[in-house]
Amino acid sequence: MIPDEAHGVIGLQPSACTSCMICVRECPTWCIELESHTEEVSEPGARRPKTINVLDAFRIDFGLCMYCGICVDLCPFDALAWSPGFDHAASSAGGLVHGINELVNWWPATNPSPAD
């Protein structure tokens, strides 16, 4: 009854996320929160260490989320994807906010990890 392409819930693949903030900035309701820090990585043979972003926190407030999928569409690294599912009611408004631990579990099993 529920089509496969239904906007159920949004999953995250943290290893693919570069903390570019595009999803955060383009979200119409600003329901995404992202925290990251930068680290220097030295590679052998490189002239100087390069700086990479390390993802610390990624939260989606599904109480605000319009399930429009703009974040999923715009992510340049395919770190966000739709998953089926609809049973995510909560007993508090704060219970609708989900962090990396839950979002990882909602990464669709049919999607190979873009990082692999």
């Binding site: 009854m1 529920i2 239904a6 119409p28 309701t29 600003w30 407030d61 599904f62 109480g63 605000l64 989320c65 319009m66 399930y67 429009c68 609809f86 049973d87 995510h88 009611a89 909560a90 007993s91 508090s92 408004a93 219970g95 609708l96």
Partner: protein, 154 residues
């Protein structure tokens, strides 16, 4: 007009539309649907799909009902908020509020609008929040079943 209809429901002190949840015969709740925006269409879809069954006992809370559920589905503007509150106050006995959809949960897409309530829980106690914009009819049923779980353990 919606506001007037709400007031009427509140004045008469009887639920205008009562439903039971199909697929859970042991479930004894009456749902009072306050449809304020597009989320209300999903409630209609749930009825069409047979997930929510209109209560045959007609208006009034039928015998054996444990609780009346006020389902707030839609945008609660400042103009409509008093109507919602009166509908809430008009419920006799055990009652629970279910916030259905982003607008009722947090204001949703209108989070920045000065005339929209930033979540119905600012006005009355909410037992279950159903996320979505709008949530699927199945999400409504899942939310109502969750309400039963919540109240059973409470």
């Amino acid at each position: 007009m919606i506001s007037l209809a709400l007031m009427e429901v509140a004045e008469r002190r009887t639920p205008e539309r009562a439903y039971r949840v199909a697929g859970a015969p042991a479930l004894r709740i009456v749902v009072l649907d306050v449809g304020l925006a597009c989320c209300a269409l999903e409630v209609g879809a749930a009825i069409t799909a047979g997930l929510l069954v209109p209560d045959v006992a007609g208006p009034g809370v039928p015998k054996g009902i444990d609780a009346t559920v006020l389902l707030i589905s839609g945008t609660v503007t400042d103009a409509l908020a008093p109507g919602v509150l009166r509908a809430w106050d008009a419920i006799d006995g055990a009652r629970h509020a279910v916030s259905f959809g982003a607008c009722a949960n947090t204001g949703g897409p209108y989070w920045d609008a000065p005339t929209v309530t930033k979540g119905i829980d600012q006005l009355l106690p909410v037992t279950v929040y159903v996320p979505g914009c709008p949530p699927r009819p199945e999400a409504l049923i899942a939310g109502l079943l969750r309400l039963v779980d919540e109240t059973a353990t409470a």
